[in-house]
Every structure is written in C-alpha cells, then in structure tokens.
Symmetry: C2
DNA sequence: AGTACACCTCTTGTATACAAGCAGTCCCGA
DNA sequence: TCGGGACTGCTTGTATACAAGAGGTGTACT
C-alpha cells in the first residue's frame, strides 16, 4: 500500500499525533481498493454494506466516500448510489499532464548544490530499488519516495499531494493492463535521472525525466489502443445493481 | 463570488442535475468566507455554532469541513477544534509553483490553429475585462474564466480544479494586503498573452505568461516582506477560544 | 505563594433514527 | 400482448443522541 497519501506537510501538527480516526482508516482502505482495482471502475458502493463489512457505522464510511469523491475516485449520485469512477481517458491524460508539468518544472528549481542529506536518501532509495525482485507493491513505495524526494530537493515537497492525486488515476489505469514490464527498467531510468541531475543539472535531467514519465503513460496508451472498452467515457450513469438474495 | 469551483468536468453527469445538497451550500459558503478572509487565518470554527448560524444540523457542516480540510483551507484537530489554516508562506509558494508549472506547460500543448470558438470566447472575455471599473469580484470571475479558457485551449481543462485549489491559497494571501493594484494592469497582461499566443505561439506567449503569474506572486512576496506576521508558520497549534458569556 | 489535581465545559468522533427519492418489479387492466 | 401505475426495496441526505478526550479553571493543600 502506498502509505504516502497523508504526507501533506501542511497537515502536520508536530505536537499532536496523527489522529487515526476510523474515517481515515476507511479512506485509506477504500482508496487502496479502488487504485488496486479490487473495486473495479463502475463498481457500486453501498454505505450500508461497507459499514457492515468494515465494522463501523455509516458515518465514517460516508465521510471517507466524500473524501474519495473529492479525489475523483468515486462518484456520488444523491438518492441513487455511489460508484467507483470510470477510468476516463481524458482524465488520465490530464493527470499525466499535471504530473509531468510539475515534476519537470521542479527540476529547474533544484539548487546547484542540493541538500546532501536528501541526495544520500535518493541514492539509498535507488539502491533499494535494485534489490527489489518482483514485489510490485514494495517497488511502488520506493518509486513514490523517489519522486517525492526529487520534489523536496527543489523545495517543492508541498506539491506532492497534488501529484499523488494525479498519480492515483495513472496507477489505476496502468493496473488495468496487469502487464509486468520489468521493474528494473524503471529503476535504471531513476538512476539515470538522478545522475544526470547531479552531473549536468536540470538541463540534462529534463529529457530523461520526461522520457521516464512518458514511458508510464505510453504503457497506458498502448493498453487503451488494445482494449478501448476499459476506458469507457464516464458520462454514462451507472445502472443500479440487482440485489435480491433474500437468504 | 467565483462560481467556478465545481467546474470539475469529470463530476458532471449530463443526465442528473447538479444535486444541490445542503452540504454543498455550506461548503461553498465557508470556502467563500475563508478565501475572502471573512474568516481570518487561525479563526476557530465550531460545528455547533455554524450549524446554528446556517440553520442546518452538524452533519452537513462536518462534511463540508472535511472537504475544506482536504483543500487545506481548514485544519481539524480531533477532540480539540477546527481552525482556518494559517497563511503559510511555504504553502503559498508551492501553490504558485504548481499553478505556474501547469499553466506554462499548457501553452506548449495549444494547437497551431486553436479552436476558433474558444478564441472568440477569450477575446470576448478580455473585452469584458476592459469594461470592469472597480468591481474586484466581477474581475476575479473573468480572470478565472480567462485562465481556464487557456487551459481548455490546450485541451487540458481537466486540470482546472487543481489549479483552482492552488489559486485559493494564492488569492487568500493576496487579500491579506488589500492593496488595489489597478485591475487594468492585469487586463493588459491578459491581452498581451493572448495576442502573443495567437501571433507567435507558445514560444512568444510563455515569457509574458510567466511575468503575469509572477506579478501576482511578487505582490504577495512584497506583502510578506512588509508584514511578516501575517504569514506565521502553521506549526503552532491554535489556542482554544474563551467562550463564557453566560447571558 | 506556588503547585497539584479534580472538575467541568467544550470539542470532534461515532452510532443511530428518520426523511426523501429513484427505479425496478409486479400486478392489473385494456 | 402490451401498457401503466402502485408497491417495495434500496439508495443517500439530514438530524440527533451519545461517547471520549483535551484543556482551561478554580480550589485545596503544602
């Protein structure tokens, strides 16, 4: 699970602890399911069912769903139902665009002599990426730490939550394919970006970074060409599920 | 007020109407108050008081506050209180960075022959800006329509919600100053950006756009230099207000 | 005077009850 | 056979009751 969701630096309070409310737990869990496609695009979500399953009342469920709706991961139709958002090609493209814009622009703001402590963390991160064999989840955690680290290098770590929000839609689209491109391709790209950055600055790192980000998006676009039905436009409102089962 | 908040194109459903729930009304109202500084940074928000004032129960109030918390406009401390977020200099800088990155990058994606209908709208928008005398709110609406229009020109209208979220923090910071820079300065910059774009493409428009966006940020930075106390870091948790008043 | 401590009132978090509405089903009638 | 309308189950929206904790306040004791 990507535990970096709430790494919003502005929501830290330093003096008070994380305050793990039930709502937060539900939010994290549902977000994980949506991004991980345990809950497929268009799937209906019943507040009552979720409440029963997760062992809490409707209140924290509702509040978590509201947060997910703000993230664009679910859609709430009053008096009708709540549904996992469809994977919309336009939305995925917008997410890619935003992420690319922010991450590329941040390269220009990285100081000539970057924070050595952060650089050390990044190198260490890459070293650990190289040790990952096939654990995709583990790799994703490291991948997120790496990209967030680059933003922090530019002193723009505060934009990470926005990037993560966009990334959620990209990750979901990517998982539709299930294809297992070798993880080491990405690790190599990460290493190349970092070295180019430290050697030649933003000018040299930029094209590599763009290529790296585009590699992910190109995977998605290939998938879309192959299986367009997965990217049905989200305009069609969902149908109510048939429940029945008086058991 | 800027009514463009819910212009998220993905949340449209075409078939169902906007569904104006009470929660939405409360959210819009509180957001307006926070950005308009009717509710100053650090101000305490009591769910009970708001419920009484706005004539609804705690439920829609809570849910609206949760949405505002996700926007970073308020902070909720469990069992302690809810407070309007401080205007944090780092956060404002991050918002500026994100907005700049997205809006500048979008220029590169504007087609050589842009949608003539959208161009007409943009020209019309500028014409109306020129007619605005001193109505700041009216100007803000046109300003947002203009910037959103440019994004749509690049077929990246879907990123507008993210830009608006960042812009909220910028606007709030800007209002701390209350200074009335002539609106026509901005109108002129808008016109110059659009003309440069249509004449010479992204290459010519980019520096003008950057200058325009920076002009706003520079105002904020000047204000910060003059009145640093307004930008107190948000780490310090607020103090509980004294209520008393047995009346 | 200073300090420890019980208290008391506020806060948000959670659970539950009720309201309102959409939509599929089923039955009845033409 | 086909159409229409009441019915019935669900859905989310809102209101309210209760739980649990944080922290200011005042008092009593040293």
């Amino acid at each position: 699970m990507t535990a970096t969701t709430d790494s919003n630096p502005y929501n830290r309070t330093m003096s008070t602890r994380p305050a793990r409310t039930s709502r937060r737990t539900v939010y994290d869990e549902l977000r994980r399911r949506v991004i991980g496609l345990d809950l497929g695009p268009g799937a209906p979500l019943s507040e009552n069912e979720l409440a029963a399953e997760l062992g809490v009342s409707r209140t924290p469920i509702r509040e978590a769903l509201i947060m997910l709706a703000q993230d664009g991961l679910v859609q709430v139709f009053p008096k009708v139902g709540t549904f996992v958002s469809r994977v919309d090609a336009q939305r995925v493209a917008d997410a890619q665009f935003l992420r690319e814009a922010v991450e590329l622009a941040s390269l220009d703001d990285i100081p000539a002599v970057p924070d050595p402590e952060l650089v050390r963390e990044l190198r260490d991160n890459i070293a650990r990426q190289e040790l990952v064999e096939a654990d995709v989840d583990q790799f994703f955690v490291l991948d997120e730490q790496f990209h967030q680290g680059l933003l922090r290098l530019a002193n723009h770590g505060g934009t990470w939550p926005s990037v993560v929000a966009a990334k959620a839609h990209l990750d979901r689209a990517r998982r539709l394919g299930l294809h297992d491109r070798p993880l080491h391709d990405f690790t190599l790209q990460h290493a190349q970006v970092l070295e180019a950055l430290l050697e030649g600055g933003a000018a040299q790192a930029r094209p590599l970074m763009r290529a790296h980000l585009r590699a992910v998006f190109d995977d998605i676009e290939r998938l879309r060409a192959r299986s367009p039905e997965l990217f049905a436009p989200s305009v069609g409102q969902p149908t109510r599920r048939n429940i029945a089962v008086w058991e």
